[in-house]
Each structure stands twice: as structure tokens, then as C-alpha cells.
Symmetry: C2
Subunit: 369 residues, 2 copies
């Protein structure tokens, strides 16, 4: 269990299989985000049809609502949300730092107020693991502190704290059917990133996440840090780049040795009427689509593109029909899942590096987050 098998490589890019209690996870993989135990607007049947293999759920949100103990009582997250394939939960740390109303961090943990009702709560590494054990995902994450990438004074302090918390998470973990991933930090400082990669690699984690990227630094800095840490991380463990990303980010991430990605972007764009396409990102609210009989993307095989015109999608949006969000979510998720699947096949065929320039050109108009 939790063995990571690399079946093909090209340069730094890897195609592999991660073995989990809910089946084999082919990598590279893009995970849709199901923050509140649901990928917004989609049934698990629809998610399955579009080929999703790994879904992420948020510990912070589920702890607050409906509560991790309730989820455990209902049989765990897989049963509760009816997702039969692998699940991943984050540690809650990122949301405490980004969503909670107020927060106070000390070496023991973080005290914060709920964004839902203002009630006071405290997360520690041990508490985060206990919650994630109640939720029961296949992959769980160490509790870390993600600092502002431009706060160069604070970054070393947050990194040190993240290292101590990583050790405490490992010590607190009880369940054998969950893989606990360590998270490295270090901002955009090469020395700190290298130190963090080495330290987290030295602990007994079956997988390692690269935290604190895509949070405000430049693309050049992201890519430099990815290259640096993936030169240090062990080859035989999956590498997870948290909260990323755009089609371009996925291509550039795999190229630098990343295996697992997750991002709210496809479903968030869908709620804002935007769709990935080879013509660049389309906003389907635009009146130019009112009489457009074409699908979002004529080359796309998703249910939405095989079934509906841009004119119909535009009508649903203009008429404030919620089905628009469902149909755009299907398309956007399909686009990223298919891109990552195509990347995987190309790594196995030895064609990946040759295809990168074309892919980057094709997806150029979809680059911004």
C-alpha cells in the first residue's frame, strides 16, 4: 500500500501509479476540489464520467460543517459523499490562514474564528491529524504554516515551525490506511527551499507536497523553486504541487517533476461563466455567443461540448439558470483531466518534450488564474 511505481520518465517528467486503498491512482493527476464534500454542482456520477480519479476535500470546511465526527459516524468521507475512488484532504492550515476571520499562531498551533459563525477554534498538528483520520481520505496532509512569499523575515520562522509540526503529525498519526504527506515550505529563498526539501525528505512520509507556491510569487520564481526542490526530493515518492493550476501550470509542473495537482480554478471559472478553450478563455455571458451554434470547443469530447451550443449555454447564463455552472464545470474539469491524461500518455511514448511547445501555444489564452 502507498507504493509509488514510476512506469516512464522523460527528462524530469514522470508517469507513475500510486497505490491507495481506493484503487490505483495513475499520475500525473489533476484533482478536482470538493471543498465541502462535493465538487460544486456535480454528482459523483458526473465526476466519474468525466474521468476524475482523485478528489480533494477541505479539512477546515468539513471540520466546521458538518463536523468531522459526524462524517466519521456516517461512515467516513468516501461513503458520505459517495466517491469510490481515492480522496485527499488538506490539513486545514491554508484555510485557517486565508479564510478564518482572526487567527493567532504560536508554536503549539493556531487559534482562529470560524468564517461561518465567528466561533473560536484551535488547530494543532495533532488536531489536524485527528480530524483527517475522522474524515478518512486515502491521502492526508501534514499541518503546515504557509507564509507570504514576499515576507522574507517571517519565512524561515514559518518553515522551522512547519518542520516541527511535520514531526508531530507523523507521531500523532494512527490509521494505517491513510498516506500522510509531508509539506515543504521556504518561500522563494533557494537556500531555505533546499533545506526544507532535505528535511521533509528525511522523515518517513510516503509522499511530499510542495507548499507555499502559487500564492503571490512570480511564475519564474515558482518554476525555479520547483526545479530546485524536485532535484532534491526522492524519486520514489509522489510529489504534489498544492493549489495549482492553469493548463500552463500543469504542463510546466510535470516538466519539472510534479505528479499531483489540485485547483478550484475549473469549477470557479465555471461559476463565473468562463470556459477553457483552444481559442483562449471564453466568457459565455458575452452577447457574441447568442447565436453561436458551435460547442465551446469543437475538438472536445465532454458531455457539454457533445451536447450543447454556445448559444444555449449563453441563454442559460443570461436566464440565471444554475445548470450553466454544472455544464461549464463538466467542460473545464474535462479539459484539465484530459490534458493531464494526454501528458501521461506522451511521457510513456517519449513524446512529451516534443509536444510541450504546441501545448503551451494551444493553451496560451487560458494562462491567468
Amino acid at each position: 500500500m502507498f507504493e509509488y511505481e514510476i512506469i516512464a520518465r522523460q527528462g524530469r517528467a514522470r508517469a507513475g501509479v500510486f497505490h491507495t486503498p481506493h484503487g490505483n491512482l495513475p499520475t500525473p493527476v489533476f484533482a478536482p476540489v470538493g471543498t465541502q464534500a462535493v465538487v460544486k454542482t456535480l454528482t459523483p456520477a458526473q465526476l466519474g464520467e468525466l474521468g476524475a480519479s482523485l478528489v480533494l476535500a477541505n479539512t477546515y470546511h468539513l471540520y466546521l460543517r458538518p463536523g468531522d465526527e459526524l462524517v466519521a459516524e456516517m461512515g467516513g468521507l468516501h461513503t458520505f459523499m459517495h466517491w469510490p475512488r481515492p480522496l485527499l484532504t488538506d490539513s486545514g492550515g491554508f484555510q485557517v490562514f486565508s479564510l478564518a476571520q482572526t487567527r493567532k499562531v504560536d508554536d503549539e498551533g493556531v487559534t482562529f474564528k470560524s468564517h461561518v459563525d465567528g466561533s473560536t477554534h484551535r488547530f494543532t498538528p495533532e488536531k489536524s491529524i485527528a480530524i483527517q483520520e475522522n474524515l478518512g481520505a486515502d491521502i492526508i496532509m501534514a499541518f503546515d504554516e504557509c507564509a507570504d512569499p514576499n515576507d522574507h523575515t517571517y519565512i524561515p520562522k514559518a518553515m522551522e515551525r512547519t518542520h516541527r509540526w511535520a514531526e508531530r503529525c507523523l507521531a500523532a498519526k494512527r490509521r494505517a490506511d491513510q498516506a500522510l504527506f509531508g509539506i515543504l515550505q521556504g518561500g522563494v529563498n533557494p537556500d531555505l527551499r533546499a533545506a526544507s526539501a532535505k528535511f521533509i525528505s528525511s522523515l518517513l512520509f510516503p509522499g511530499i507536497a510542495i507548499g507555499g507556491l502559487s500564492v503571490g510569487e512570480t511564475k519564474a520564481e515558482t518554476y525555479a523553486m520547483l526545479k530546485l526542490v524536485n532535484g532534491i526530493l526522492p524519486e520514489d515518492k509522489p510529489r504534489y504541487l498544492m493549489g495549482v493550476g492553469t493548463p500552463e501550470d500543469l504542463i510546466e509542473g510535470v516538466r519539472r517533476g510534479v505528479d499531483i495537482f489540485d485547483c478550484v480554478l475549473p469549477t470557479r471559472l465555471a461559476r463565473h461563466h468562463a470556459a477553457f478553450s483552444l481559442e483562449g478563455r471564453l466568457n459565455l455571458m458575452n452577447a457574441t455567443f447568442a447565436r453561436d451554434k458551435r460547442p465551446i470547443d469543437e475538438t472536445c469530447t465532454c458531455y457539454t461540448c457533445q451536447t450543447f451550443s454556445r448559444a444555449y449555454l449563453r441563454h442559460l447564463i443570461a436566464a440565471k439558470e444554475l445548470l450553466a455552472g454544472t455544464l461549464l464545470s463538466i467542460h473545464n474539469l474535462h479539459a484539465l483531466i484530459k490534458l493531464v491524461n494526454d501528458i501521461r500518455v506522451s511521457i510513456m511514448d517519449g513524446a512529451f518534450e516534443n509536444k510541450v511547445p504546441d501545448w503551451l501555444a494551444q493553451w496560451k489564452g487560458n494562462a491567468n488564474k
Copy 2:
């Protein structure tokens, strides 16, 4: 085409098949409402899975947005919304009288202001038919005037006007691939109802709708009027009770000779967190369901009941996740479609009348609109 074949009878109840350009429609049938060319929150794939055979769309809404000419240009309503089975459009009359901001009716037609943007429009019988020919449903409706059932002075006037408009609709109709149904009115006055049933029956309509019921009169009045008019209407044409209804209404309607029903109730209840069940109508927002592992209805075979607990549905509602509306719509529509299918089978088996008391008892807690 548009032949109505009765294959079994029990008392006044009939099981039949109505032949349309988009396939045979078994009756009795319950039609989900797709006001704006979408049954709210559901894909046509989901609608198909739950066994829907006829969908209603609203002429008033589609005329205003996206416009009937646009729908025609996109290939008609079947193509636009990707519904391959029979479609029905109403005449727009009911919405003009219930939704439009201001309206002025005369013998020629109705002038009204759009509820969307306040712009001024005019519907006449000829205009309603022209719009419905652009939309292209299999069954289209005559333009009528639905009066307040308690306004006994105005009812005869509205009925007379409805009769003149029925003749004008027949004269205006051009397309041979659409069945135009007449609508009878007459409030809750037996003499007027009988006169209207006779007059509308005398015109060359392939089907007849019973309008102006379930709009504020008592249940006893509704049933009395149904019994009366169905004793007059020709046996060889389908009878459509517009805007009805609850499980009880369907049972009582079939019992009095009705073949076709439509109602927004299942999808509207879903948006208000309510579900049909044999325990009576459930409001799944209720905290008593927070840890309830049972499905909405343990005897139900819909996707929602086969997949999710009440606890999960309650969580989705509390967390304001839109998927709750989708899942409750699936369940509520499935419940009514299955009830009507069961009724059909029981008419063919000669068991309908024996089953009525049990069905009425089972569905009792779901009676109110």
C-alpha cells in the same frame, strides 16, 4: 400522427398512447416543467435517466429570453435544449396574466410589460401560435384567458373570449408537425364549464386542455369540474390538466379521466429543500436529519435515494451547495413520474381502483401545493 390510442380503461381512468413526431407518449403522463428551455438544475441526460417522456417549456419566458426567432434559428427547441422526446409549449397566456408587470386585455389580445426588463409587448392568438411554431414543440396550446375562479361576473366574458381565440388559433396554425390543443375555461360554474367543454370539443383540436383549475378554487370544486367536463369531452382525444399537481391531484385526476399533467411543484419544492416521501413531505434542512443515514425514501429507486443519505443532503443544504437542488429535483420528479407509471400499469391490469385508497393514504402527507 397525433392519433390517440386508448389501450386500457378502468372506470373513467384511461391508459393510452399519443403519437408525436418525437415518439410515442404513453399516458397518463406527468411532464416536468422546463420554463426557460431547461428543467431547473438537470441535464437532459439526467431527465432521460429518471424516465421523463414529455417536457413543458414556457412560451412567455422563451419569447422574452432568448427569443423565439433565435430558438428557431438554432434549430428549434428540441435541438436547442437537446431534448429528443416530446415537448409541449403553453400559449403564454397564463404567464401574461400572472407574471407580467402590467397588462391590458381586449378582444384582440393582451398588451403587457415584460417582468425581465419592463419592455412593452403584445400577444394575440395569432402571435402566440407564431411563437410556438418558431419554438417547434410537438404539442402547442391555444391562447386563452384564465379568469379568477371566484370572479363570477368576469368568468363568462373570459370564456367567450377564449372560445373566439381558440377559433383564431386554429385558423392561424401553419405547421402540420405540431398538435394544437384547445383549452376550455368556465371557472367553477357547471353550466359554463359544460358549455365550454362542448364548444371546444366541436372544434378540430387533436387534444383538449382543462384550463382555469388549480388556480384558487377548492379541491371539491376542482374534482367536480373534472368529472363534469370529462363526461362531455370526446373519448378519442387526450385530456390535459394544466399546472397540476401533487401526488393526490394526479391520482384524483386520472380517476376522473385526465391523461396529461404538468407542474413546477417537484423542482420548486427541491429548491426549497423539500422532498416527497411516504412519511409525508420532508424538509431536509431540518436538523433532525443531520445524522440520518437513511435515504429520503427507502423504497425509492432514484439516483438520489440509491446514493445519498438524508445526512448528506442536509449537509449540502446547510452548506448552501447547489447540488442539493439537483439531487432533490431528481428525487421529486422520479416520485411523480413513477407514481404515474404505476397508475398506468394498474389501469392496464385492472387494479387501479383497488389501489387508489392505499396510494392516497401513502401520499397523504404530500398533498399541499
